[in-house]
Structures are given as structure tokens and as C-alpha cells.
Symmetry: C2
Subunit: 233 residues, 2 copies
């Protein structure tokens, strides 16, 4: 009997936003695997730490942050091989995933390497999108509105087009793209409708109207735009 592979969403950062199921599976796991920046901390492990048992085996997958995909692919090859070895001996392996495993997550790189060979279950988690809306105190979408989720690196003209076509927009991974996003929203006359959220649900969370946002944004920041097309009274 081979073991079962779990991709477990941990939510946006506050450990209490983990699901009951994630908490149970982490506590019962034989092996816990997680990606980490080379030489850095694993955010996923930090979220899950309180749910982990002391004697659980850990597989850390150090992922280099290079522009070329080759080095990261090699890291996932190595990580997948280490996980496969445990699964083959009948151990269950829980892969820790920030947010949700299938929503802009790195779990898909392990999923594509392992799910055909091993029984796999994905446990959804709270995404940063709705965590940011909650932090902002602003409903995201009502009734028949369209919500579009855009990654910050998108080119300026296309971003303008996509924002124009939606009723509500979440721009993820803002980081160094903040000046470009400000220009796009200015051009669309939507700056007043935009809120900025940094490190949602963590202790050092920042929430502000876009006009009052810091000059530089970290990778884990988001801008939410609602147009109020369909007022919710």
C-alpha cells in the first residue's frame, strides 16, 4: 500500500484561518513537505507550525527565485522524488500550501509530478483575495457582478483593458508594479475606488486607501477595486 499525498491550503497567514481539516491532517501526517526560499524561511511552515507534531518528518524544498524556470523545476523534481520515496513506503505526506493549493500556488508543480502515480487529495484554503476584502471591510462582489483577478506583472495596456471590463478587480503580487498600477487606475478614474492591503491577517498588516498606500509595496500585497455597479442595499 502506498501512502496518500495531500495538498493542504493554510489560508492567508493567520494560523486561525486554517481549516479544521487542514489542522487535523497536519497533526496526523507522517511527513510534512513545504517549499522555502533558498536560504530563507518557509511562510507555509510558519503558518502550520502550531498544528505540527514534534516528531513529524519534514521535507524542505528550497526553491531558487530565478527568472529562468530551469532551476526551480529541478528543485521540484528533487522535492517530488523525496516525497515519492516516502509515499512508496506507505507514509502519508502533507504538502503545506500558503492560501489555496490550486490558486496561484506552487503545489501544482508537485501535483503535476506526483498525482498520476499516487492517490492525491487537495484541501482548499482561504485565499488572500477574500482575506483582503475582509481586512478592507469592503464587500467584493454582489449578485451578478464579474470579478477579475489580475497578477501585477501584466503589461499596462492589457491591465487597463481587463480592469475596464470587470465590475470588481483584485490585483495580486503588487510589489514593484505599484507605480504602473497607480497610472492605470488614474487613467480609468478609479483611484478613489481602490484599497491597498499588505500582509493581510498578519500582525504587521497594512490597510489603506490606495492614495495613502506606501511608496514601495512588498510581493505579498494586493489592490482591490470595486466599482459599486450593483449597490448592495
Amino acid at each position: 500500500m502506498t501512502g496518500k499525498l495531500y495538498g493542504v491550503g493554510l489560508g492567508p497567514g493567520d494560523p486561525e484561518l486554517m481549516t479544521l481539516k487542514a489542522h487535523r491532517l497536519i497533526g496526523a501526517a507522517d511527513v510534512i513537505a513545504y517549499p522555502a526560499l533558498v536560504g530563507g524561511e518557509s511562510f507555509a511552515r510558519t503558518i502550520a507550525l502550531g498544528a505540527m507534531t514534534e516528531d513529524v518528518e519534514e521535507i524542505m524544498i528550497p526553491v531558487p527565485m530565478t527568472v529562468e524556470r530551469g532551476p526551480a523545476q529541478m528543485a521540484y523534481d528533487t522535492g517530488a522524488a523525496a516525497i515519492a520515496q516516502r509515499l512508496e513506503t506507505g507514509k502519508n505526506v502533507v504538502v503545506l500550501c500558503e492560501g489555496d493549493p490550486f490558486f496561484y500556488g506552487s503545489f501544482m508543480y508537485l501535483f503535476s509530478r506526483l498525482s498520476e502515480r499516487f492517490e492525491t487529495e487537495v484541501v482548499p484554503g482561504v485565499t488572500s483575495i477574500t482575506a483582503c476584502a475582509a481586512a478592507l471591510g469592503q464587500p467584493l462582489t454582489a449578485r451578478n457582478e464579474v470579478l477579475t483577478i489580475i497578477p501585477g506583472p501584466m503589461n499596462e495596456a492589457l491591465m487597463q483593458e481587463r480592469i475596464k471590463a470587470a465590475d470588481a478587480v483584485a490585483i495580486m503580487k503588487v510589489g514593484r508594479h505599484l507605480p504602473k498600477i497607480r497610472r492605470v487606475l488614474e487613467a480609468l478614474n478609479l483611484s478613489q475606488n481602490a484599497g491597498y492591503i499588505e500582509r493581510a491577517t498578519l500582525e504587521n498588516q497594512i490597510v489603506a486607501p490606495l492614495a495613502d498606500a506606501p511608496e514601495t509595496a512588498p510581493y505579498f500585497s494586493m489592490i482591490l477595486i470595486t466599482k459599486g455597479k450593483d449597490p448592495w442595499l
Copy 2:
């Protein structure tokens, strides 16, 4: 001292996909409030039941499902007044919300009536979007892909345009709009990329390629489309 109002996301249906925070707040609440279809069950209450204490006070808000908004607005006026009365006596009130409170949820109708008068906290929950991706076993979005969320009632021409412009699409509230959605996906040559999910995470869940989906879909069904633009190997 007035009480605090909580809008608490319960996730897509499996009670184990509730967050630890939702579970704690529900167990500690003085009063639990929830919308229910007139004469019907409350899906939110069903999800939360195992976390509720026996002696908690319940406020049921019966919401009529009419096309005109007037009757539902009156129901939320009445419900908000009942909640306000408890908050004014210093009791904490937890409003139960399927999925996430700010993501196509009815909590916004209470939020708009109460959040300016009473301290309010929104606790995000797992949405049906990522729960459906997990059920389908198919990653939703990678890297710099755009995800668009479309409600089923959208008109056919516009729906076609929006789907064409996105890398991944979730169509919510499929219900009686299934034949229209099939036509749109056929016209875009995307039927092979579409998965159908009904009652995700519940015992009677149905998951199928769109080609094998039932002829009639309930309101709580979804179609996910991925174009594989950005392969995740």
C-alpha cells in the same frame, strides 16, 4: 458597551472546511443569525450546527426569493433590527455565511445596515471556487494568468467576450443557464477544457467533464475552464 458583530464565512459546505476561527466564534457566540429561504432550510445553519452550543440564541432571517428586490430588502431590514437589538444589550452576534461573507454573499446586506453603528469583523472563508478546483483535481491559475469569475445569468454575447479575455474562468450559479453556457463554450472551442461541479464538498457532490454533466443543473453548481496557457511543469 455594545456587542460586536461578526460575519463568519463557513466555507463551501463540508463542516470540516470551516476555519478554526469560525469554529471558535460560533462556539462562543451569544447570538447566531442566518438567512434562510422562506419555508426552507438554512444551508449556513446546517454547516455550522456541529459548532453551535445548545443554548445559543438563534435569529433566523427568512429571505423571500422574488425577482423584485423589495421583499428581500424588507427581510434584511427586519433581520438587521433584531440583530441591532441584541448588539445594543452588549451581546456578540455571529452571522453565518456560506462560503465567504464578501464573495457573492448575502452578508453584505446586513453589513450595509449595521457596520457603521456597531463594531464589525468579517472572517473570510473558503470559497466554492477553490473548493470546486480541488474537487475537479485541476489547478485553477498559475503564475501570471488572469482568472475571471462570471455569474451564470450574464448575457450570452458578453459571457463569450469575458471568457475569451481570461486564462481561467469560473462560472458560478450555473442552474438553468447551463444550455447557454454550453453554447458559449462550443463557440469558443473550449468545451474540452471545461469541468462541471455540483454541490462541491458535500456527500452528494458531482464532478464531471462538461460533456458528461447532467442535463439540468442546480443553482449551486459551477463550471471551471482552464486554457493551459501557462503550463505548470
